[in-house]
């Protein structure tokens, strides 16, 4: 048992903390206030972060990246999210896909895409799963309806595939340069069997991005529609032929599939750290009857709960990151993601509560943290996201 960080981990953590404090936090609230969801992205900031290595953090050393381990990734995500949750996600969003290229793509694909990704500070990636009528069915496919889920149609025509349909809520959908995309290559087979994964560059003919979703929180990070109108994708862009994702071996899926769970949990940790600091600062400085709020019992109980939950989450996040590094299959990644939903929402809510006691105004940061936290519900903590983990657990122990 060792909870300490090694030098490399600590260095990345410090670097991320510095970037968050000096570059992210100063612009975070201003970015949050921008009304047009297409205008929230800040390329200067992003490029600076990319140059510091945050965009390419997960690319393995063998392919020329820093090859940071999962513990490092968790630490960096938390530190960046302490500055701004959505900006942290803007960087970490690329990690699982660069990892996926490295672990699942053919040598030729790796060469084509990974080099380009490494070389270009504005190269961001995304993955398209959700569709207007297929959201939770992809996460938790119904047992009695094999054709539920992905409907975007992919038909083989010689050396090309023709794609028709649309995706929605796709991260970086409007600015990304490359997307992994699940499409239905066999309309009569289950999700596992009938779906093929493609690599879709932005300049794919017949593909365009549609509206950018106007989210309540997570403003910096953009989600968009992706529209495919007889889009033509070369067969060379198919990932591992049909059934791509399911062919990854288990240890790879710890990283490939479950990274997203850790990502949300580590990001939530950063938001909670920010909320705890904000609350402590407020309750030390704001007074009632000449005494700091911090001296009141009710305030102490609230502060205690925030910090207790945050430290519990930190412990669980780091454990899961370590488990990923050890390629241990476990349901902890799912549970910590669920847990992070409860924690981020309660902690940011208490912080708002402490800030709101004053009357008819609200601290802009406290408000932002609550809005950012609400997004966890459907990404990490709704009933579907919880049942999914339990079913995995029951299967693993059954």
């Amino acid at each position: 048992m060792d909870f300490s960080l090694n030098d490399e981990q600590r260095e990345w953590q410090q670097k991320a903390r510095k970037f968050a404090e000096e570059d992210i936090r100063p612009v975070s609230l201003a970015r949050d206030r921008i009304l047009d969801p297409r205008e929230t992205w800040d390329w200067d900031l992003f490029k600076k972060g990319s140059q510091l290595g945050f965009r390419t953090l997960a690319v393995p050393k063998a392919y020329g990246g820093p090859g940071a381990d999962f513990v490092t990734q968790a630490l960096v995500m938390a530190e960046l999210a302490r500055g701004d949750s959505a900006i942290s996600k803007a960087f970490s969003q690329n990690w699982k896909w660069s990892h996926l290229i490295a672990s699942a793509c053919s040598p030729e694909q790796k060469q084509r895409f990974l080099s380009a990704f490494l070389a270009d500070d504005t190269f961001v990636m995304g993955k398209g799963i959700t569709e207007p009528n297929a959201g939770s069915d992809n996460r938790l496919p119904p047992e009695d309806e094999v054709r539920a889920g992905v409907r975007l149609k992919a038909e083989r025509r010689g050396d090309e595939w023709i794609l028709n349909g649309e995706k929605c809520f796709i991260a970086n959908g409007n600015i990304g340069k490359l997307f992994f995309l699940d499409a239905r290559s066999n309309p009569n087979a289950s999700l596992k069997e009938g779906v093929t994964m493609f690599l879709i560059p932005r300049d794919t003919p017949g593909f365009r991005s549609g509206k950018v979703f106007n989210k309540s929180g997570w403003r910096f990070y953009q989600n968009a529609e992706m529209i495919f109108d007889n889009a033509r994708v070369p067969h060379a862009n198919v990932v591992e032929q049909t059934g791509g994702q399911s062919r990854l071996d288990k240890s790879e899926r710890t990283g490939g599939d479950l990274f997203g769970d850790l990502e949300l949990a580590a990001n939530a940790l950063g938001v909670c750290m920010c909320a705890c600091e904000s609350a402590l600062k407020l309750t030390r400085s704001r007074t009632q009857g000449g005494k700091p709020l911090l001296e009141q019992q009710a305030v102490q109980l609230k502060l205690g709960r925030m910090n207790m939950l945050t430290e519990a989450l930190r412990s669980y996040v780091l454990r899961v990151a370590w488990e990923h590094d050890q390629k241990l299959p476990s349901t902890n990644a799912g549970f910590v993601m669920n847990f992070s939903t409860d924690v981020i929402q309660e902690v940011t809510q208490i912080n708002m509560d402490l800030h709101g006691a004053a009357g008819f105004t609200m601290d802009a940061l406290a408000n932002k943290l609550v809005r950012d936290g609400i997004i966890w519900t459907h990404l990490a903590g709704d009933a579907v996201q919880r049942m999914k983990v339990v079913r995995r657990m029951a299967k693993a122990t059954g």
């Binding site: 069915d137 309806e145 001296e295 509560d353 609200m362």
Partner: protein, 410 residues
């Protein structure tokens, strides 16, 4: 004798207001800018139509030209309006409540004669109570169960001229309805030597009085519903006979809520938000299919909806009880209702429960629950505003605790 039947009039007004909301308010409320909370200003034409329906003067007695609605009726209307648009509701509810308090309860006949006709005649006229001051705080927390006054300090002061007129100087902040009000009841300190919370008088000030300025606040920078403004008085002269009640003992010293008709109207509006979220979630759950079944047929979603329904039913039941008790103050002494502060109980429960209701309802919508061009995110935001403005649940609990301990701060 216990009886929960609503009267025919109560049924009728509920139906009428609900129809008004459906036909007139909802089409405005779902405009993108409004859902995105860029422009929550209550449209003047809606306020006018509502006034013509009598909603502006709902609580004013019939002889004076109002509908003479009782507390429960006022709560019913507040809930219905807020289910459509809480900003519209906030303006009307404030004026209606004040119309009863000022014209029916507190004004002298001469004052009524001076101010009532103009108020009745002008459907756009709203009323305002200017009580809150910048940086004021009840300090209930630090003084919980301590025998010191917790009334916020009143710095806005009025002095008498030799003719008996009043000269007001000072600032009131976050005054509800200030941008629309034609008549203000202003809390002023008239005894500079009295301790905090005492020596306060109420002056009636018409909007066009010289030396008085109203600055409309940016609704979206604030954390409230309706319109609010800062009101500044600079040597504002008010005639001697515009003193409401007695000098130095304002009938409104403890706030509107503490009057005999201190009704849980804000809580009724809060329920309106929860109900709107709930109804939207039920409608969606009845059509959205997942796993080849409508999601309302899934245990997880069914349980969530049931929990919301339970909260709304409890909240409304408690709010109506508090409203009835406010209309029947003797019921406490004869032990038909508790002697704990019912309105505070209703406030604490409603604020917390409707916030959770809105969050849970949003969960039903998945990603659509956080989009600014969909109503769900606004319900959540509205519920947060109710939870974190005015008396906080934390202070509410301390107030209830003092009542449990039979602690009296006199």
């Amino acid at each position: 004798m216990y009886d929960l039947h609503l009267s025919a009039e109560q049924h009728e007004i509920r139906d009428t207001v609900r129809e008004f909301v459906t036909n007139e308010i909802k089409p405005v409320a779902i405009k993108p800018a409004r859902m995105e909370s860029l422009d929550r200003r209550p449209p003047a034409d809606i306020l006018l139509k509502a006034a013509q329906m009598g909603l502006r003067t709902l609580a004013l007695s019939e002889p004076l030209g109002g509908a003479g609605a009782d507390g429960i009726t006022a709560c019913i209307v507040a809930e219905e309006l807020a289910a459509g648009d809480p900003d519209v509701a906030a303006v009307l509810v404030e004026t209606s409540a004040l119309s009863h308090v000022l014209f029916d309860q507190l004004m002298s006949p001469a004052q009524r004669e001076r101010f009532l006709p103009a108020f009745i005649k002008d459907d756009a006229a709203q009323l305002a109570l200017a009580a809150h001051e910048p940086d004021s705080d009840t300090e209930l927390g630090v003084n919980y169960h301590r025998a010191v006054p917790v009334a916020p300090a009143t710095n806005c002061a009025a002095t008498r001229t030799p003719t008996g007129d009043w000269i007001i100087n000072g600032t009131k902040s976050f005054v509800p309805n200030a941008p629309l009000a034609t008549l203000f009841a202003v809390q002023v300190r008239t005894d500079p030597k009295a301790p905090a919370g005492q020596g306060i008088s109420t002056l009636l000030v018409a909007r066009d009085t010289a030396g008085m300025t109203v600055r409309e606040l940016d609704q979206n920078a604030g954390w409230y519903h309706g319109l609010r403004g800062d009101v500044t008085f600079k040597d504002t002269r008010v005639p001697a006979d515009q003193l409401l009640g007695d000098e130095g003992s304002s009938p409104l010293a403890a706030g509107l809520e503490a009057l005999g008709r201190g009704l849980p109207l804000v809580q009724a509006m809060n329920i309106g938000i929860g109900r709107a979220a709930y109804e939207a979630a039920v409608d969606y759950a009845r059509i959205r299919v997942q796993g080849a079944r409508r999601i309302i047929e899934h245990q997880a979603i069914g349980t969530l909806l049931a929990e919301i329904a339970i909260r709304i039913e409890l909240a409304r039941t408690m709010v109506w009880k508090a409203a009835w008790a406010a209309d029947h103050p003797a019921a406490v002494a004869e032990r038909s209702v508790t002697d704990l502060p019912l309105q505070t109980i209703a406030r604490v429960y409603t604020a917390e429960a409707m916030h959770q209701a809105a969050l849970d309802a949003a969960e039903v919508f998945g990603a659509m629950g956080v989009m600014r061009d969909m109503p769900m995110h606004k319900y959540v935001q509205d519920a947060l505003i109710f939870l974190h403005s005015g008396m906080s649940p934390g202070d509410g609990k301390l107030r209830i605790a003092e009542a449990i301990a039979e602690f009296r701060r006199d």
